[in-house]
Amino acid sequence: MISVSERDYITKGVDRSVRADGRARLDFRDLNLETGMITQASGSCRVTLEGGTDVLVGVKVEVGSIEPDAEAAADADDIDDDGGARTAGGGGPGTDDTTGSSGGGTHARNRGRISCTVACSPSATRVFDPRDVESMCNEYSQLLNRVLNSAHGGVDLAALCIVPGSTCWVLNVDALVLDYGGGLLDAIFAATRGALHNTRIPRATVEQTDGRVEFEIEDEETEIVAGWEDVPLTVSMSKIGYRHIVDPTPLEELCSSARLTVAVNRRGNLCALQKGGEGGIEPSLLAEMVQTAKQLGQTLLSRHDTLLAAEARRIAKGVDPTGFR
């Protein structure tokens, strides 16, 4: 909840580019990141923001079967549904179709998939109506699924295939929001990218013996997730008054009439665009926000890569993570 005068104070501050915590409109808070603190997971990453937001992402790699429906759906004459599957993502049959079925759906048969869920720990969100939390988690899960499972999500899905047409790796990406202090979606993407960087997949060797395909999994030898560096980060912009800001605090989120989330990859391309919130945005402002987000995204990505490199060095040195201490 927020009072009228607080709203006015924040809105005018945003207009003047002096926010309540001293940041300018397009300043981010410091992002802290640590990887590999969950030993049972194939990969993990925790991202905290100054001011409370705390997100933990675990990646669990498991062997799954390529659903025969994937092909059917991708092939099915002229009808959408595979398009549906693209957005449905998570575990649903027909993981992907964007590269299409012109090749008789062979693509869909040679791919792994990523299944994402976002959950909120009750402590993080006790101020909200549980239903709002549920729909927010659903919205974010959907966006993660849609981005990561698309052809441009970064992760090389074809590399996750073990036996074409039957077996593949499934990356279960589970994001848990431990605390909420605004700017959640961007933090979830940052933690997801970090966790994928940290993920190690066991090596699978495929053998063919008299027509039967068998594969063996060696837990000792592992591989990194191919294409993690192409996973995009999101820049969420909140429209307050007639201006927009990044990385809002909870009170600023309450003052925001609309949110535009833009996923940007290191090639500087947009991978997703999604508006949230209850207000409208003029088309010209929308275009401007897209441009801004692209530039900010590039900066964020290079900063993120630096943090991950530092983490990689720490792990290489064998220094234990701080974890939850």
């Binding site: 025969p68 429906d69 092909e71 059917a72 759906a73 991708a74 092939d75 099915a76 004459d77 002229d78 009808i79 959408d80 549904d81 595979d82 398009g83 549906g84 693209r86 957005t87 449905a88 998570g90 649903g92 049959p93 027909g94 179709d97 964007t98 299409g100 079925s101 012109s102 109506d129 239903r131 729909s135 659903n138 919205e139 899960s141 959907q142 981005v147 698309s150 052809a151 441009h152 090639r267 500087g268 391309n269 947009l270 991978c271 997703a272 665009l273 508006k275 949230g276 919130g277 209850e278 207000g279 409208g280 945005i281 003029e282 088309p283 929308l286 275009a287 897209v290 441009q291 692209k294």
Partner: protein, 255 residues
Amino acid sequence: MSDRKRVTGPEKSVAPLLETGSVPAFIFNPDRRHDGRDVNHLRPVFMKSGVVRQANGSAYLEAGKLKVACAVYGPRQNQRTKISATKGSLGCDFKFSPFSGGRRRSYMKDEQEREYSLVLEQALSPAVRLDLIPKSTVDIFVQVLESDGSAACLAAAITCASLALADAGIEMLDAVAACSAGYFESTVCLDPTGEEEAHEGGSLVLSYMPSLNEVTHVIQSGETSTATTVKALELCVDACSQIHAVMQQSLIANV
């Protein structure tokens, strides 16, 4: 777990696979698409309001093969107790009929339907004068009878729901029109069909209030450059204005 509240068939069934090579290769021609349009054209759209008798407002929309029905009930007493007293709320429910797509859909709401319900709410809320109906809710039910492109379906649902809201006499700042676009490399293709959708590199759905010149919702997937996205936004804004005109006509026709 099987659904005990419906007549059930065998435990598991799958859509059959097509014979290999039975589908002709898809070729995208920006000037002449499979249904004869070029990339800057929408499918001809038909709308009619007032189709569900017992609803407070309703509408039916047809664009090519795509068919969507929507009914609006309310404003009625809010079921949720803990809701801000000063504003009303929209309850949106988006459902694909089991037979509406390539693969049979379950009656249970899947992730996509839940997401689309949320998008529907987000796209319509900026237009509805919720401040005038405190403590009440307006329930919007959208049923897709036949789908031909999921992005196009979402856009059609938003347009159709907006028409139904107008039919229900619910005060709005402006009617919301929505349209979809697909990306083929750097080409932006308006209102892609299901077949095109299966081959596109990404898509965008834009909801727009023409009179107020405000975008109420936008959602995009797939990788594009900013220039392409901006182009798509412009194209969709124009297309939404066209759809808006059809909405007005159909409302006037029903008066």
